[in-house]
Symmetry: C2
Subunit: 134 residues, 2 copies
């Protein structure tokens, strides 16, 4: 399988696959006599694993750890769970942060008339943060 084929089948672009190889996230692909990378179904599974893990918001370094655990038959599920729990906590933190921002901004938006006049509570908040915030 050439890189274009596995890219299409896995949904991971060729550029990204080469990038993953360059940072050692996937093992270097075998090469054909012409220099083309040659992929197997094993590589497909790995790419799908990575893609899924990335879509769940794990960083590339976390994915590296997850791949290690995946391949390590003597792993403990506790180790995997610990990694995942940390990530859920990070997600919770981020969500709360965004919700707080959203609330502040939505309040300002609600108080802004949004007409042709220049006075606007949004700009006032940003401008007066000088006094209020410090």
């Amino acid at each position: 399988m050439n890189i274009g084929t596995i890219a299409e089948k896995s949904g991971v672009p060729p550029k990204t696959i080469r990038y993953y190889e360059s940072i050692g996230l996937v093992r270097p692909a075998d090469r054909r006599p012409n220099g083309y990378r040659s992929y197997t179904l094993f590589d497909m599974r790995t790419l799908n694993f990575i893609k899924r893990a990335r879509s769940l918001g794990f960083s590339v370094e976390e994915v590296r750890d997850l791949l290690d655990l995946w391949q390590d038959k003597s792993r403990t599920s506790a180790a995997v769970k610990a990694l995942a729990v940390r990530h859920v906590e990070a997600l919770d933190h981020k969500i709360e942060e965004l919700k707080s921002i959203r609330k502040t901004l939505a309040d300002l938006v609600k108080r802004c008339r949004g007409d042709e006049r220049p006075d606007c509570p949004i700009l006032e908040d940003l401008g007066h943060a000088a006094e209020g915030g410090k």
Copy 2:
């Protein structure tokens, strides 16, 4: 006021202030005879405005637009509101995305025993995404 002083007072690090100047987000600071940047209270207000806007999640480009509107006395509050509404929508989108990820992952975590044994629904999900996802 030297850059260190305004940095401390505004909470924007010197490095960041110079960066903002380099991308034209703030006007180039006046220079003293020795080459040091010299700041005024006007600059303080601008930096505070930027800091507040950034803390509300506006991108630097959005902050640029907001600064323009702030300085433009003939602006309409409708223009400001439109910008803010777009940003609230972007926040909502991001929050929903993270919540969805969090839910998926929290379910997997719940189903993982987290003991000394190797079998783990989290790794199973990631590994079998190959068949399930495609």
